[in-house]
Point group: C2
């Protein structure tokens, strides 16, 4: 048995971002790796995901925080804020270096939640053995992971996509949005509209990701642009942004339109306060439905997803753009890039 | 046959309120009553309803107006703005004075949409013959009319009320809210919470309308008050207000809570712009559902409503508070009172 590392490097949360992350809020530091116990595995991480929602975990945007009282939380929610002084967590892929559990062997590829560090020690029953079958392993943190399931179940189950629907996806160049648009097309949408923040991204949406039209939301009034590109209205809006995007979509929805509230990039950035200027009169007047979507609530979508998504990828029916950063020391940079529109598709760190 | 009137008095819209109604926006004026044609009836109005949503009709709060473009509208919506220079319309009750149609006779009580005037000439097939069967006729503009059906179908169909639910109703002293709270109780809600703008109204909610607790939203932070009274959260929120009420409710909803967007009193007053500060991250985190409700979309609720509501009223299981103004010349005053919290229950004008 090769000599196992006794320490590793990982990112610690020092201070809660207020509201956005500043360099002093996190530190890359040395972490001790305790001796392996029965039932545990030691993993060398090869990839970690960065996700916008991690800003909320850093900030601990909880009801308790805002109100100073205890409120009802969703027991199924994965929304457990990071603890100050502890290493941060998140989806990661790695290789088993040593195992004291019969179910996993050294060399196995595993998916787990101890990202933001180079090595991790974890109970074997909290990690998932991945068999890539010729697909790039990193996809298991993206299109074949929670991002992919979010796009799939959000659009098909929560959004109730029907053949012939006009679909609008915000942050369409993002990890979830880029997949949602392509799934909409594969499932018979009449028209797929995306939004992004640069004309270059908009070009990619059309050229590489099969969007019919792309709106550069920095280029003019979003509601007017959306109206011009969808004069007869939108049936399904897959919302990754909130704020002005949600407002514009509500204005342009068709009667009985369905809005999947999936991500709130605008609210993450604003600090979570103030929220969204939703035109509720229009929501009433058009009998709209808005539903908050969390992938953990839709595990009934897994069988369909597990059947269709790998097939679509293998058949090149879905393109999975990726923005990769190399080295654990660049994890902070990768995370920041998410909020500055510098990434396309799945953003990850190769460790 | 008695001599029929050749003219009547009615309210004309001169100018669109911006954003609230000022006295010069409307005028009570003489209107000619054309000679009765075949198939028509002449009605002497006895009661007319005033509704907050009429402010939107006066203002013509349409998408077209706001954007200067044509947008998708709900074909089922009753939302047809008033025309400048024409008499305004709205739910009314009256007595048939003369009929040139076989289906209606002088003396019949009818419900129709030509309110805001003392007499009306209408095609017989656009008015509804009402048989009060011992119930006060005015209820057919309130609990036994669209207000009642809105409360009933909004709560039971759109809100999916279940036995044991904790229910919150805003504008709980209003025409729809006062009924929604009582229906919730009759249908097995564990707890019914209402909000109103004065402590006197809050006392009435508890003493007369069966609410378990009542929140005076002018007496302190609404979210904190709602939390204190529903520490374990709310299952169904029946929203007649929007704005800060909707925000507070979202904060205090239980996971999978259901919000029926029914009225937007706050938005009517603000001029419809800006909309609501909705905390969409909480809506996602708790997998909430928000649906815009219009009664015209829920006529499937009519049979249950027609069976249960008259029975509840006859059995004194539902109380129908009323604020009445006397005389067509006070219609403007009655309408204004809606927005100043001076009314409880159904507000109407006895003509």
């Amino acid at each position: 048995m090769p000599k196992l590392p006794r320490s590793t490097r990982g990112w610690i949360l020092n201070r809660r971002p207020a509201p956005t992350l500043s360099p002093d809020d996190v530190t890359l530091t040395d972490l001790a790796l305790p001796e392996l116990q029965d039932g545990q595995v030691l993993i060398r991480n090869t990839h970690m995901a960065v996700l916008p929602s991690m800003l909320g975990l850093m900030r601990a945007d909880t009801l308790d925080q805002r109100l100073g009282v205890h409120g009802p939380h969703n027991p199924h929610s994965a929304y457990m804020p990071y603890t100050l002084g502890d290493p941060m967590t998140g989806p990661a892929l790695g290789e088993v270096l040593a195992s004291r559990d019969d179910t996993l062997q050294p060399g196995d590829t595993v998916r787990h939640m101890l990202g933001w560090r180079e090595h991790a020690t974890a109970p074997a029953n909290t990690v998932e053995h991945i068999q890539p079958k010729g697909l790039p392993p990193a996809l298991f943190l993206g299109a074949l992971g929670l991002n992919g399931l979010t796009a799939y179940a959000g659009l098909l189950q929560e959004g109730g996509l029907r053949t012939g629907d006009v679909v609008f996806v915000s942050a369409a160049g993002g990890s979830v949005g880029s997949l949602a648009g392509q799934i909409a097309r594969l499932k018979g949408a009449a028209r797929v509209i995306g939004s992004a923040g640069t004309s270059g991204k908009c070009d990619r949406l059309k050229a590489e990701l099969g969007f019919d039209t792309a709106i550069n939301y920095t280029a003019g009034d979003l509601t007017k642009q959306l109206h011009q590109t969808a004069p007869d209205g939108i049936d399904v809006y897959f919302d990754n942004v909130g704020g002005d995007h949600l407002h514009a979509a509500i204005e342009c929805m068709r009667p009985h339109g369905r809005i999947v509230l999936c991500g709130m990039l605008s609210q993450y950035l604003s600090g979570g306060e103030g929220g969204l200027p939703v035109n509720a009169s229009a929501a009433i007047g058009k009998s709209l439905r808005l539903t908050g979507f969390q992938v953990f609530e839709h595990l009934e979508g897994v069988p369909g997803f597990a059947e269709e998504m790998p097939m679509w990828i293998a058949n090149h029916q879905i393109t999975c753009p990726q923005t990769a950063f190399d080295g654990i020391d660049r994890a902070h940079e990768a995370f920041q890039a998410l909020f500055h529109g510098h990434t396309t598709g799945q953003t990850l760190v190769r460790i």
